[in-house]
Symmetry: C2
Subunit: 350 residues, 2 copies
């Protein structure tokens, strides 16, 4: 693989991303940094096509990158510029600060990505797997009506109303609260299981059978807590881009939840996936740029951008990268070894 061929491949991708039209040898030869004739480029392009990096929509049209072409471009050829301080500040503003609830943080990230990239964005919330139950309260609020409150060490709060068949006496309530605290306090959210609650229901029923709805309520709340939620923002942007099949996009928007398993199985660091390569994320000409953010060193959730394969990777990757780092930083209370504010200069060597 010639050095010049790589340069030409990069140029083709850049031009195609810019114009959206198949790009011909002449267009390449007229670029500043290319100093060979159109004929030479034609030869090289034919070779690149042979190798599977380019393809022609039809004879006598220009060339278009194949997804292997994009792959090579992204992995080896592209050098995304690092963000300017203004851009970072802008992102910081859109994201929020350390007081912003985690929930909102990822939502803001999604909104920022849709706005800046004009593509769809996906985010998943931070699943507090490794956080522990720090408080459970049962508060009477009316005739046979109780509110259960569940709080974790990471600050998630869930509540739920619960109707019992009888009112509880003060002692009964106290007994129950104590029992629950003894059994759940300090238990990690991940350890909570159906069986555990079944056992508790049994134990509690022995004392007073009508307490079991409360245990069930707590069980449901803990399920809520474990639930990874996926938000797709700006899905409609995908419809206005005409290299994507409308039908596929609609189907995708309707079944966005299928994505979550896929997001789960990604590795650390920024990744680019193509629709063709995946069964679950099956929009033909699409690509997805995703990354996982961390919370106190552990992977907690993902965020990313979904767009046509022909997106400006050079522009989007730094955005996704910076937001991931910043969210990781904010969620870890500043412990992560990532610069806190918009004065990073960990620019990759050019």
């Amino acid at each position: 693989m010639d050095d010049r061929k790589l340069k030409i491949l990069a140029a083709v991708v850049d031009e195609y991303v810019r114009t959206g039209e198949p790009v011909g040898s002449k267009a390449i030869s007229q670029l500043e940094h290319i100093n060979v004739s159109a004929a030479t480029i034609r030869n090289d392009m034919a070779a690149l096509e042979q190798l599977g990096y380019l393809e022609q929509p039809h004879t006598s049209a220009g060339r278009v990158p194949t997804f292997q072409g994009y792959r090579l471009y992204i992995d080896e050829l592209m050098t995304p510029p690092s963000l300017t301080d203004e851009e970072k500040e802008r992102l910081d503003d859109m994201l929020g600060d350390s007081d912003t609830p985690e929930e909102l943080l990822v939502q803001n990230a999604a909104a920022a990505l849709t706005e800046l990239t004009q593509c769809a964005a996906v985010v998943t919330n931070a699943v507090p797997r490794f956080s522990v139950i720090s408080k459970v309260e049962v508060i009477p609020t009316g005739k046979r009506l109780y509110v259960i409150l569940l709080i974790t060490s990471s600050g998630s709060i869930k509540n739920k109303a619960c109707r019992l068949e009888f009112d509880l006496s003060h002692e009964q309530l106290e007994f129950f609260t104590r029992y629950i605290e003894e059994n759940l306090n300090g238990v990690s959210v991940d350890e909570l299981s159906e069986e555990m609650f079944d056992k508790m229901v049994a134990a509690v029923s022995a004392y007073m059978v009508s307490l079991s709805p409360l245990v069930k309520g707590i069980c449901e709340l803990s399920e809520d807590l474990r639930q990874q939620e996926l938000t797709l923002s700006g899905g409609e942007k995908l419809l206005s881009c005409d290299d994507l099949d409308k039908m596929e996009v609609v189907r995708f928007i309707e079944h966005k939840d299928d994505l979550s398993s896929m997001l789960e199985e990604t590795f650390s660091g920024i990744q680019v996936k193509f629709g063709q390569e995946s069964g679950t994320f099956a929009i033909g000409n699409s690509s997805m740029i995703v990354s996982k953010y961390r919370k106190s060193g552990r992977e907690a959730g993902s965020l990313g951008v979904i767009g046509p394969m022909r997106v400006d990777y050079k522009k989007i990757i730094p955005y996704v990268d910076y937001l991931t780092q910043r969210i990781s930083y904010l969620m870890s209370g500043g412990e992560e070894n990532i610069p806190p504010a918009a004065d990073t200069d960990s620019a990759p060597p050019d």
Copy 2:
């Protein structure tokens, strides 16, 4: 206005809704219940066009209803069949029962409408205007960290974490809780105002200045409570229907909140609005079928369907109607004078 003309108008609308194509005189003349020749129908159609109820996309195409045509059809000509018991049961299942939280009830209604009509659905939650604060709790959950819990008589529960500058002693907490309960218990959600909280902040600060974040927290929660939230479900359905302009639909989905003012100002009973007639709801060929549900006799929120003007009104209107009634019934705890289950036979006279 001839009786036959009305019959023909109705037939044109029905046929157009069914086929989506402009409908010609011949097609009408072949319908079962029409016993005049195509020529006669042509004359009448010309008259209906003159009157503004029909229009031709171009000479020598069939006729299409204008929105005044639809208006007349909906208000006078159409006789929607009442739902069968199976349909009602189906809706009941999708909606939930008296144990379902109100929030979920309206969400379920939206989901049901999108599924059954293949159109978009809008719902607003029940604003608990006239409900009162029934409980306020402040629960310590960590170092200088407190959770505020706000519960209303209608069963809405809101919580919020709040960080203080100092830890509170048991007495301080008790003082605060008592003070808040005295001032807020039984106060209607509608009465809560910025000024009221300002006054409370002042009073509380006199005792201990660092309590004011708690009051502010409560204030924010009460704002959440008053907030009417609008959910648009199945917006993507609008994109697959080709009599709507894609760009307008995208714009609409992005600014769905503009709808809320419009939903506010509707009257009781089912209404049909057209995109053309409204500035705020400006998708060209669209129509919206909305209704307000009531809670204990008062208007509490809205639900409706948004689709192309060419929707099956006869099918959708009974759905919206029944869901409104059912939600009103469920939210009022069975007090509304509407049959509780799927055995209504208040069919409109045919």
